[in-house]
C-alpha cells in the first residue's frame, strides 16, 4: 500500500486515494456498522428481552381455565354444612357454528331438549344466542349436572359439532338448608362468596383456578414439533371448620322459631350462643331465615305481598327489600339499646371498683331525681322496691338502684369500663361516633354508637350516666353484649369472638387456626365470681328472681332479663314497641355457654305480658334444657324438682296386673285397671311416653279403650298440678319441658294441642309454664 504508483501502471493499478477510501470502507462497513448492530441486538435481545418475550408468549400460549372445587365448611364436630359438587357450564360458540357451517337451529333444539326447564332454557333464547355470529362465548346454562352435560357431549360427537362446548363449573350444596344460614352465608352463580363465612373466607375456600397452557400457532392449533403443554392444577379450596355446633345451632333455631311464633314477634329475632371462655361462637341465628340452597327465595308471607303488588318495579323493590331483610344477620348487623341486660356490666364495674359490695343497700321509692334531668328516672315498679341488698337490686332489676350504682362508679370510670368492655373505641374514633366492633370473622358486623366523652363527663348533667347505668340511650350489637357479659362471668377476660376454628387443606393439614384470644382483662377473677353468684340468684330464686323463667331443673343457671322500649317508635307516637331479651349462662359456677336471645317487637295481641322475664327468659330456659344435657352437663335435682319431674311410662303391656302395677310404682306412676282379665292387653299412654309425675296410667285387662274422643280443654293460666288433675279425669296426660320450681306461682302459657281439639284417650299434651305472679309483671 505504500507503493508509489508510477507511469502507465498507475492507471491499471488502484491509486492511493482509492486504497485510502477502501480502507475507510473496510472500517465503516466491516467493523463500525457491525458494532452498532451488535449494540442494537443487545438492546433488543437482552435489555428488552422480558418485554418482547412476554409479547411473544402472550400470543403463542392458549390458556384454558379449570375451575377449582370450593372447600367444604364443617361444624365443630365435622358435620358438613356446605359442600361443592362438580357441575358444568354449557357454552355456545356462534362464530364456530358459522365457520364450520353447523346447523344453529339443530344445536339450539337439541340443547333445549336436553336442558329444558330444569335449567330454565328455552328454544328462542338459545337460538338467538346461537345466531349471534360475532360471538365466541354465549353461556346457555350454568351448573348443569354431569349426566345432562354428557348427553350434550354425545350429541357433539355424533354430529361432529364444534359450536357448543362445556366448561367445568361447580354448585354449592347446603345439606342443612336454612340451618346457620347467616353464619355460613352463600355464593353467587360464579361461586364467589356473597355473605357470611362464604364471603369472609372466600379466598381460602375458593381455591386456585387451574390452567392448561399450551403452545399454539397463529391459527390456534398445536405447533409442529413443539409440544409445549403446561398444567397448573386446579387447587381445591381449603376446608373451613367452624366453632359452631350444628346441634346447638339447631336447638337455638328451634326454640327461637317457637318464640317468634308464640309471641308473634314482628320484627325478627336473634340468638347467640358463645363459649365464654374462648369467645367461640357455638351458634348464631337471625330470624327470618332462608334456605341457603335457594337464597333468593323469600318467605311465603313476603312472597304473597310481592304477588299482590301492582307493577313489576314495585314487585322488584319488595323482593329486594325482603331479601335484604332475610339476609341481614341481626345478631351482628343490627344495633339496639340493650336495656337491663346491661346492668351486668354496671354491676361488674361497681364491684371491681369496690364502690358497692354484697352488703350495700339501696332504697327504691319508685323513682329518683337525676341532676340535669327535668323528670325523675322511674323504676319499672312504680310502687318502688323499698330497701334492697345489692343482690336483691339485681334480682329486681331495679332501675333506681342502678342509677345510684352508676353514680357511685362515676362518669369517667363508667366510661373507661364501657371502653374496656368493647362498647366504644376512643383510640381510632375520638371525634366521630366512637364506633367499636368486636372484629368477629364474619361479614357485615356493625358497631356501637356511644355518647362522646364531653357529654358523658358533664358533671352538671348526669342523665347520660343515669340512663347508661341501666342500658339505655346508647346502642350496641347483640354480639357486643354477649362478648362483654362473657367477660363478666368467665373470670374477667374480654375474648375476641370468632366463628372459624381452623382452615385446613384437602389432606387435613392446618393452614391457619383461630386460637382463643384475650383482648384484655377487664375485671378480676374474684369480681367475676361474685357477679356469677349474684346473677345466679336472678334465675335461681323462685321468688325474687326476675329471670326465674329461664330456670332449668337440675342446672345452675345465671342470667339477666332485658326489656327496652324502642325510642324511635315512641317518638313517632305509635303504640309502644319493645325489644325483649335475656342473657343467660350455665353452669353458673363454671360457665361453659352463654346464650343471648333477643325478640324484636313481640305482638301486643298474644295476651302474654311483653317483657324479657316473660318471653326472653323462658326461651333461653328451653334452649338450656336441650343444650346442657347435649353438652354433657350433669343435672342435680332438688327435692321439689324431683317431685315434679316428668316420668317416662314403662311398657307394661303383656305383663300381669301385679307386675305392671309394680313397674309403674317404681317410676312414681299409679294405675287404673279397666277390664276383668289378669294381664295387661293395652295401656294408655303407651310405653316411652313422658307424662307428669303422679299421673295415673290406664291399664286395660281384656277391655277395649273407649273409642269416644275428648275435647282438649283450655289449660292456660292453670297451675301444673291443676292441669294435670283436670286432664287425668278425662284420660289425658300432661308433660312439660319447663322446670317446676314454684308449683303454685307457675302457670301454663301455651299448650301443644290447642283447646277445643278432639283428642283420643291417652293423648299427652305438652305445656309451657312461666312464673307470672302479678308482682313480677314489669318491663325489666
Amino acid at each position: 500500500m505504500t507503493q508509489k504508483p508510477t507511469g502507465r501502471a498507475s492507471a491499471r493499478t488502484p491509486n492511493r486515494m482509492m486504497l485510502r477510501r477502501t480502507l475507510f470502507l473496510l472500517v465503516v462497513c466491516g467493523i463500525v456498522a457491525f458494532l452498532v448492530l451488535g449494540g442494537r441486538l443487545y438492546h433488543v435481545m437482552i435489555v428488552k428481552h422480558d418485554e418482547y418475550e412476554q409479547g411473544a408468549i402472550s400470543q403463542q400460549l392458549r390458556k384454558k381455565e379449570v375451575a377449582a372445587l370450593r372447600g367444604t365448611i364443617y361444624d365443630c364436630n365435622g358435620k358438613i354444612l356446605a359442600k361443592s359438587a362438580t357441575r358444568e357450564t354449557v357454552i355456545l360458540s356462534p362464530a364456530d357454528i358459522v365457520k364450520y357451517d353447523e346447523d344453529a337451529a339443530l344445536i339450539a333444539r337439541t340443547v333445549t331438549d336436553i336442558l329444558g326447564e330444569k335449567y330454565g332454557v328455552d328454544y328462542e333464547t338459545v337460538l338467538a344466542k346461537a345466531e349471534n355470529h360475532q360471538s365466541f362465548y354465549e353461556i346457555v346454562a350454568r351448573q348443569v349436572d354431569p349426566e345432562d352435560a354428557d348427553r350434550i357431549r354425545e350429541f357433539k360427537e355424533e354430529n361432529n359439532i364444534v359450536g357448543v362446548w362445556m366448561a367445568t363449573d361447580s354448585k354449592r350444596y347446603y345439606p342443612y338448608g336454612s340451618l346457620a344460614a347467616h353464619i355460613i352465608g352463600f355464593v353467587g352463580m360464579d361461586n364467589t362468596g356473597l355473605a357470611g363465612i362464604e364471603s369472609r373466607y372466600d379466598d381460602a375456600l375458593s381455591g386456585k383456578t387451574g390452567r392448561i397452557v399450551r403452545a399454539a400457532d397463529e391459527k390456534g392449533t398445536g405447533m409442529l414439533l413443539v409440544r409445549y403443554e403446561d398444567y397448573i392444577d386446579a387447587a381445591v379450596g381449603y376446608d373451613v371448620t367452624l366453632t359452631t355446633d350444628a346441634t346447638i345451632q339447631y336447638y337455638l333455631e328451634k326454640h327461637l322459631q317457637q318464640a317468634v311464633q308464640d309471641y308473634d314477634v314482628q320484627n325478627g329475632a336473634a340468638a347467640i350462643a358463645m363459649n365464654p371462655n374462648t369467645g367461640a361462637i357455638l351458634g348464631m341465628v337471625s330470624l327470618g331465615n332462608f334456605d341457603l340452597n335457594d337464597y333468593q327465595a323469600v318467605s311465603d308471607a313476603a312472597q304473597q305481598k310481592i304477588d299482590a303488588a301492582e307493577d313489576e318495579t314495585e314487585k322488584a323493590e319488595l323482593r329486594a327489600a325482603a331479601q335484604q331483610r332475610q339476609w341481614r344477620n341481626k345478631a351482628i348487623s343490627d344495633t339496639y339499646e340493650p336495656g337491663s341486660t346491661f346492668k351486668i356490666i354496671t354491676l361488674s364495674m361497681a364491684l371491681e371498683e369496690g364502690v358497692v359490695d354484697e352488703n350495700s343497700s339501696f332504697y327504691c321509692g319508685g323513682s329518683t331525681a337525676v341532676r340535669g334531668r327535668t323528670d325523675p328516672v322511674k323504676c319499672w315498679k312504680t310502687a318502688g322496691h323499698g330497701a334492697q341488698s345489692l343482690t336483691q337490686a339485681v334480682q329486681h332489676s331495679c332501675n333506681v338502684a342502678f342509677v345510684q350504682i352508676g353514680q357511685l362508679v362515676g362518669a369517667e370510670t363508667f366510661y373507661k369500663y364501657a371502653e374496656a368492655f368493647g362498647f366504644l373505641n376512643l383510640t381510632t374514633n375520638r371525634d366521630s361516633t366512637l364506633t367499636a366492633r368486636t372484629g368477629i370473622d364474619l361479614a357485615g358486623e356493625s358497631g356501637s354508637i356511644w355518647w362522646s366523652q364531653n357529654t358523658f363527663y358533664d358533671s352538671e348533667n348526669l342523665s347520660q350516666l343515669a340512663s347508661a347505668s341501666f342500658g339505655q340511650t346508647f346502642t350496641i350489637t347483640p354480639l357486643q353484649l354477649i362478648t362483654a357479659v362473657s367477660a363478666c362471668v368467665n373470670g374477667g377476660y374480654l375474648m375476641q369472638p370468632y366463628v372459624v376454628r381452623e382452615v385446613t387443606d384437602a389432606n387435613g393439614k392446618v393452614i391457619s387456626a383461630n386460637e382463643p384470644t384475650v383482648v384484655r382483662q377487664v375485671i378480676s377473677e374474684e369480681t367475676s365470681a361474685r357477679v356469677r353468684a349474684i346473677l345466679e340468684q336472678v334465675v335461681g330464686d323462685p321468688v325474687d328472681g326476675t329471670g326465674k323463667n329461664a330456670y332449668v331443673a337440675g342446672y345452675r343457671i345465671g342470667g339477666k332479663t332485658g326489656t327496652s322500649e324502642k325510642v324511635a317508635q315512641d317518638a313517632a307516637g305509635g303504640p309502644k314497641e319493645y325489644i325483649v331479651s335475656f342473657i343467660g349462662f350455665a353452669p353458673a359456677d363454671d360457665p361453659k355457654i352463654v346464650i343471648l336471645v333477643l325478640l324484636d317487637t313481640p305482638s301486643n295481641e298474644t295476651g302474654i305480658y311483653i317483657s324479657g322475664g316473660q318471653m326472653g327468659a323462658p326461651t333461653v330456659g328451653k334452649m338450656f334444657a336441650d343444650i346442657l344435657p347435649y353438652m354433657g352437663v350433669d343435672p342435680e335435682y332438688s327435692e321439689t324438682e324431683k317431685a315434679y319431674m316428668d316420668k317416662t311410662v314403662p311398657n307394661v303391656t303383656g305383663l300381669t296386673l301385679e307386675q305392671a302395677q309394680a313397674a309403674l310404682q317404681d317410676v312414681g306412676l299409679s294405675a287404673r285397671i279397666i277390664g276383668e282379665g289378669d294381664t295387661v292387653t293395652q295401656q294408655l299412654p303407651g310405653g316411652a311416653a313422658v307424662v307428669a309425675n303422679g299421673s295415673t296410667i290406664l291399664l286395660y285387662a281384656g277391655a277395649e279403650p273407649s273409642a269416644e274422643q275428648e275435647t282438649m280443654p283450655d289449660l292456660t293460666a292453670l297451675t301444673y298440678q291443676d292441669a294435670r288433675d283436670r286432664l287425668a279425669a278425662m284420660g289425658l296426660y300432661l308433660t312439660t319441658q319447663s322446670s317446676i320450681t314454684s308449683p303454685n306461682t307457675q302457670s301454663i302459657t301455651d299448650q301443644s294441642i290447642p283447646a277445643g281439639t278432639p283428642v283420643d284417650h291417652g293423648t299427652v299434651v305438652r305445656v309451657s309454664l312461666v312464673t307470672s305472679d302479678a308482682g313480677m309483671l314489669g318491663r325489666y
Binding site: 507503493q3 482509492m18 477502501t22 448492530l37 441486538l41 437482552i46 428481552h49 418475550e53 403463542q60
Partner: protein
C-alpha cells in the same frame, strides 16, 4: 496450511499484473463463505418447515430446494473462481446489456407475486433479473471507472454516464416495483464511484439530495409516512387501526428477536415461525435465528459476516489490477450493504424494507448469484501475487 493458499505479505511489492500468473484461492474467504452457506441452509430448514407444512408441502420442501440452489451456486462459485478477471472484463458490457435486457423484460413477461412483478419463469426456477443487475452494475461501473481514469473527477465523465445508467435501472425497478433493490444499487453505485475517485463534493451532494428526497417523501407520501410511524412505534397500533397490519410484521420480528435472550430457545425450537412471523424463511430469517440461537448465535453470524466483508476489502486492497480492485470492492460492498440493512430492518433499527440476508434467506437467484460473486472474489484473490520468499 494448504499449499494452494498463500499468505499475502502486508507490504508485498506490487509487480505488474500478469494475467497468466494465477495463484491459489484465498482460503479464509472460501472457508467463511462455506460456513455461512451451511449455516444458512440449516436455518432455512429450521425456519421454513412450518410454512412448508402449512402450505401442504413436505416440511423439508424449502430446505431441499435451497440445498439444490446452494449446490448449483457452489459449483458456479468454483467455475467463476477459475475464470481470469480479464475474461470478465472482456464480457462486462455483454453481461451488463443482457442483464438490462432481462430487467426490461420483467414488466412484460414477468410473473407476479405479492403485488410485485419481479420474476421471469424459467420453468426450473424463477429468475430474478434485479439480482443479476446488481452484479452487472458492479462489473460495468468497475469497467467504466477504469476507462474513465483521470476524468473521474469531472462531472461530465465522472458523474453523468453513471447517473444515466442508474436512472435507467431505477426506472425499470420502479415498474416492478422493487424499491429495496433500487436502494441497494444506489448505495452500491455511490460506494463504487466514491472508491473510483469521484469528487467527494459530488458524493456529498448526491447523499444530500437523497436525504432531501427521503425527507420530502416522508412529508408527502402517505406510504412512507406509514412506514415511519410503524418504525417508531410498532406496538402502538391496536387491532382495527389501519396501521395494525403494517406494524404486524415488525412487531412479530421484535418479539422473535427479543425472545432469544442470551442463548435462545434452541435450534428448531422457535415458535414465531408458526404463522406468526411472515417471511420467516426469507427476509426475516435472521429474526428466527435470533429467537433460536440467542444473542450468542446472532453475534457469531454477524462476526462471520464481518470477517468475510473485511476479507473482501482486504483482498481488494491487495489486488494489483484496478478493474479487479473495483470489482472486489463492489462485490464486498454489495454483501455488506445487504447484511447491514437486513439486520437493521429485522431489529427495527431502520424502517422496514424488503432486503434478504445473503446466504440465509430462501431464494434461488440471490443465493446462486451471491455464490457466483464470491467466486469472482476468489478469482480476484488468485491474482494477488504470492509472497516470493517465506
Amino acid at each position: 496450511m494448504n499449499e494452494n493458499i498463500r499468505r499475502i505479505p502486508r507490504r508485498a511489492a506490487r509487480p505488474e499484473p500478469a494475467e497468466t500468473v494465477r495463484g491459489g484461492m484465498d482460503f479464509p474467504l472460501l472457508a467463511l463463505t462455506l460456513m455461512l452457506l451451511l449455516f444458512g441452509l440449516v436455518m432455512v430448514f429450521s425456519a421454513s418447515f412450518p410454512s412448508a407444512y402449512y402450505e401442504g408441502h413436505s416440511p423439508a420442501y424449502y430446505f431441499i430446494r435451497q440445498a439444490g440452489f446452494a449446490a448449483f451456486g457452489a459449483f458456479l462459485m468454483i467455475v467463476c473462481s477459475r475464470i481470469p478477471m480479464a475474461t470478465y472484463r472482456r464480457y462486462t458490457v455483454l453481461i451488463f446489456l443482457l442483464s438490462m435486457a432481462a430487467l426490461a423484460l420483467v414488466p412484460i413477461i414477468g410473473t407476479e407475486a405479492n403485488g410485485a412483478r419481479r420474476w421471469i419463469d424459467l420453468k426450473v426456477f424463477q429468475f430474478q433479473p434485479s439480482e443479476a443487475v446488481k452484479l452487472a452494475v458492479i462489473l460495468m461501473f468497475a469497467n467504466m471507472i477504469c476507462n474513465t481514469r483521470a476524468q473521474m473527477k469531472t462531472f461530465k465523465y465522472g458523474v453523468l454516464p453513471y447517473a444515466a445508467i442508474l436512472i435507467a435501472i431505477i426506472g425499470l425497478l420502479a415498474l416492478e416495483p422493487h424499491l429495496s433493490c433500487a436502494i441497494i444499487i444506489c448505495a452500491l453505485a455511490a460506494v463504487m464511484l466514491f472508491v473510483g475517485g469521484m469528487r467527494w463534493q459530488y458524493l456529498v451532494g448526491a447523499v444530500g439530495a437523497g436525504a432531501a428526497l427521503i425527507y420530502v417523501a416522508s412529508k408527502t407520501m402517505s406510504y412512507v409516512q406509514e412506514r415511519i410511524a410503524v418504525w417508531r412505534d410498532p406496538f402502538g397500533p391496536a387491532i382495527g387501526d389501519p396501521l395494525y397490519d403494517k406494524a404486524y410484521q415488525i412487531k412479530q420480528s421484535l418479539w422473535a428477536v427479543g425472545s432469544g435472550g442470551f442463548t435462545g430457545l434452541g435450534l428448531g425450537e422457535g415458535r414465531q415461525k408458526f404463522l406468526y412471523l411472515p417471511e420467516e424463511h426469507n427476509d426475516y430469517i435472521f429474526a428466527i435465528l435470533c429467537e433460536e440461537l440467542g444473542l450468542i448465535g446472532a453475534l457469531a453470524v454477524l462476526a462471520l459476516f464481518a470477517l468475510l466483508i473485511c476479507r473482501g476489502y482486504w483482498i481488494a486492497l491487495h489486488t494489483p489490477d484496478r478493474y479487479s480492485f473495483l470489482v472486489a470492492v463492489g462485490v464486498t460492498t454489495l454483501l455488506a450493504v445487504q447484511v447491514l440493512l437486513n439486520v437493521a430492518v429485522v431489529t427495527n433499527f431502520i424502517p422496514c424494507t424488503g432486503i434478504s440476508l445473503p446466504f440465509f434467506s430462501y431464494g434461488g437467484t440471490a443465493l446462486v448469484l451471491q455464490l457466483a460473486e464470491m467466486g469472482i472474489l476468489l478469482s480476484i484473490s488468485r491474482e494477488i501475487p504470492a509472497r516470493r520468499s517465506t
